[in-house]
Symmetry: none
Subunit: 269 residues, 2 copies
DNA sequence: GTCCGAGCCTGACCCTGCGTCAAGGTCAAG
DNA sequence: CTTGACCTTGACGCAGGGTCAGGCTCGGAC
């Protein structure tokens, strides 16, 4: 007859674990000797070892109970399920390893390297810090939602930045940063933005075609969030969007040419 | 500005988790709007994404805190450590997968495939169920304590089973199952067991030599446990062991030839 | 105006799988 | 008779949140 600590040693678990299994009814309480000590037979070691095998395979203790009673059919199904879970766990950990590696390599935690380079280039070209900050925050959000599309998206942005006319337009839009909603410069700013959008869309299409990919589509939700970031970051943003609609463009992040609807044109007057 | 649920969605965590991080001081509480709602900027998304990257890598939240503040040097060391842990985790899970696979292949829990085959062979040869059950439990215990030795041990047992004379002896020992301590067949059973032991030891040595390994040594402790299983399983076991001592053998699991001590011989009379 | 569903707030308890005291009773050896 | 190793029950603690409960607020539809 074994004491609890002998039992535990044989099965390779702690005494506390054994008592825990008793408490949750997983291992039946054995009989007690005259002084109240638990006394186990060798069968208990076998039971305990079986429990451990399943528990170490990641089976929750509550399920181990049913599993040990289960017949071959049911048991095989359960085992298959456990194996699936283990495989998923392994894949997950491998993914985390890659993440962590990137985290160690790039100095920026939430931004992919391409985006870091892009922001750096903006700084070189003299964009205001405020604008760059908003760009950065936006790219963090984009990277979080659609990491795979980042390369193509960044290629488009880079091409825009290195395109002479577009860069000039883009830089001239920097007024954005310090306009109030009733600033007299706004209509002319809107004109410049409209010109920019016109030219930029063809560049984007060309770059995407070059990369032999279709231009990535930003989800409605993400688009809305980025628009919110934009509107909240610049006091004049809401008004600017109105002016852009007058000029035939709707949206900001996912900007689209509007169909020339007459009633709209009327509102313009 | 984002609400807590937007923040959570963008970082891929639950709202509850965000609040938890606030509670433990991992993520700073943002400012509140007029009605007490938390309002986040995109920077919070960055913070949260960094926290998740580390947490998902298995870093305890308490350490994530220090890690995010740590400089490049210290940080790199920590990341290496995390990676090491992830690799170990992956290996562990792969081990469990193998365990589970074996567990599914053999229909018996906690038994290596070789042992399952051995028990199957015993069943074919007509050993009583009770005897086979005890064998099974014993092998579970052995496999738990010295899994690496199982192949050699099983090879020995298999050889014993396929050895004509030995098999005959072994089968004839099946009386064991239903003898009481004062059964008249016991002395003759003891004779047969003694014969068996004599022959078996040479087979064991030969098989081990064939496998180019030394015959595995079962630890004193395990030996004692297995003897206990034996004694508890068969009512006549204790008496049989006495009779065997009379015949010059001591122990059961790790049976040894006794030195011919005269006082013992006297007891026989 | 008001009504509804969705979203926010705090506070509190629940879960797993044990670890870790606390406060005592027991056992075998010296 | 003491000492130290074990045993007992009971209780609280941990991470990392999940899940109410009970109440306030928001935005849109009617």
């Amino acid at each position: 007859m074994l004491t609890i600590s002998q039992l535990a040693r044989y099965a390779g678990v702690t005494v506390r674990a054994v008592r825990h299994y008793h408490a949750i009814g997983l291992l039946p309480e054995p009989c007690r000797d005259h002084s109240g000590y638990r006394r186990y037979d060798a069968g208990a070691v076998v039971d305990l070892i079986r429990i451990r095998m399943l528990a170490e395979g990641g089976v929750p203790l509550s399920r181990v109970h049913q599993l040990l009673d289960a017949g071959g059919e049911e048991f095989a199904a359960e085992v298959a399920e456990i194996d699936r879970r283990l495989r998923a766990d392994i894949r997950e950990r491998q993914h985390h390893r890659r993440q962590i590696a990137r985290l160690a390599a790039g100095d920026s935690l939430a931004l992919p390297a391409e985006a870091v380079a892009y922001l750096e280039r903006m700084r070189e070209l003299g964009f205001p810090d405020r604008v760059i900050e908003i760009e950065r925050d936006s790219w963090i959000l984009i990277a979080a939602q659609m990491p795979d599309e980042i390369p193509v998206l960044m290629a488009i942005k880079h091409a825009t930045l290195e395109h002479e006319t577009l860069r000039r337009h883009y830089l001239s839009m920097a007024d954005l940063a310090d306009c109030s909603p009733d600033d007299p410069r706004l209509p002319s700013l809107a004109d410049r933005v409209a010109d920019f959008l016109e030219a930029a869309s063809t560049v984007a299409t060309a770059v995407a075609a070059d990369a032999a990919e279709e231009e990535p589509v930003v989800s409605e939700e993400l688009s809305a969030l980025l628009d919110t970031v934009f509107v909240e970051s610049f006091p004049c943003a809401a008004r600017l969007l109105e002016l852009l609609e007058d000029r035939g463009w709707t949206g900001w992040t996912s900007v689209r040419r509007m169909e020339p609807v007459l009633p709209r044109r009327c509102e313009e007057a």
